[in-house]
Point group: C2
Chain length 253, copies 2
């Protein structure tokens, strides 16, 4: 029976700036006895990618602009964090107590530019930004993991985001390589031979959703999941950017 | 190693109005050798629930209102389908060529009220509405499947929806029973002892996303997936309605 499986990989140590993340991931997979097979996907939490890439910022070194101070008052947030949110964003869509919805420089629309203050040492003093180029990070990690294990793999860098009309967060792919972002079924037939009208499946995001669930959160969270059985198209050439809705089609800006 | 697994279940026949869906699902699980275990979840595509509940409507019997005719012109859609969309909805949020974003009577915000014209026999003549009460459908199916298999199970009724800022569809839980809609981690500590600020995970939606991917679409689609290893809280008492963002918190209406 074909199964799509998400295997939580323990043993990733606390990641420090400059760490060789692919090596840490490879060691954790081997130690867990989970040898990647051709077509497997490696789902990696954004936090450890950002940490390895040195994307942690000391808040004491951030001077908020007047705009950041103003938005911080409206959002009831630390003005230094708001300053970082603004620097990381192309546009501010909404400001509300506790949340600033922005278009991140990567094009992703999300709250607070994905800036995180939990699960970081000295978190009262530091904030963690998203990777500078998550697709590039995914491509690099993919190349390194493929070299180490000698099989074709995909990599998905996950983050958890909120939704406009639904409560709770879900995982999305903020960066990916070797996996379809979208599976375009338009023009294919359904089982009655009728042409499908709207069928473009967000493959990488769907994988990320369950991967983040498998990672868990809070104290017991692990940032690494091996995904098997996805049949997700290793050489599509797509990246996470392919899943961004063009501004011209945006009905809710 | 703890794994979260989605097992596609073949052998569900074409469902007809009035069919005993739990019996068909039970037979498909047995025939596939997939005996549900305590804590497993059964993910069921909305289409077969709607079909069994007789939610298919002959378009020839639908008379569009003036409002439906007007919106149909702006959306470039069949006025009879638009009439059904309006009847199924509480509010229209946006109208754009090909898509009408509504708040469905269940409270779910989605395109075209979830009305589907693919994968239905005589689809040029009929449209398929969402189940009248998807949470009630899930609770009923759960009770029947638990009786048949003698173990505690959860049920998720899935549909695929678009997103405001991202391309491609993802599965969500439009109805559920015996599974947490949300896992509220607020107040728990992260691994450094810091209280988590925003951590309410959309469990049922995350499960639905991968389940819909495992189902597949188009000609080879199967509407049934058995989910194992989710640890998703069999007796939370939550339903899919618990994942709806209250209108007072809606920044994008």
């Amino acid at each position: 029976m074909a199964a799509l499986s998400f295997m939580r990989v323990p043993g990733v140590p606390l990641v420090q700036p400059g760490d060789d993340l692919a090596a840490l991931i490879g060691a954790a997979l081997r130690a867990a006895g989970l040898m990647p097979q051709a077509g497997d996907l490696v789902a990696i939490a954004q936090k450890i990618v950002s940490k390895a890439e040195g994307r942690s910022v000391r808040l004491a070194e951030v001077t908020p602009s007047a705009e950041a101070e103003d938005i911080a008052t409206r959002a009831n947030k630390d003005p230094r964090v708001v300053e970082l949110i603004l620097r990381e964003s192309r546009a501010v869509l909404r400001v509300s107590p506790g949340v600033i919805i922005v278009e991140h420089r990567s094009g992703i629309v999300l709250a607070n530019a994905g800036i995180d203050r939990s699960n970081i040492e000295d978190s009262d003093e530091r904030a963690l930004l998203l990777p500078a180029d998550p697709d590039a990070s995914a491509a690099r990690l993919r190349a390194e993991l493929q070299r180490e294990f000698g099989v074709a793999l995909g990599v998905v860098i996950t983050d958890s985001i909120g939704r406009a009309w639904r409560l709770g967060t879900v995982g999305i792919a903020i960066g990916c390589a070797g996996i379809k972002a979208l599976n375009d079924l338009r023009g294919q037939s359904d089982m009655f031979g009728r042409t499908l009208q709207v069928s473009e499946v967000a493959v990488a995001d769907s994988i990320a959703a369950a991967a983040v669930l498998a990672m868990g959160e809070a104290a017991e969270g692990t940032p690494l999941v091996l995904v098997r059985g996805a049949d997700a198209g290793a050489d599509s050439g797509q990246t996470a950017r392919d899943a961004l809705r063009p501004a011209a089609e945006d009905l809710f800006r």
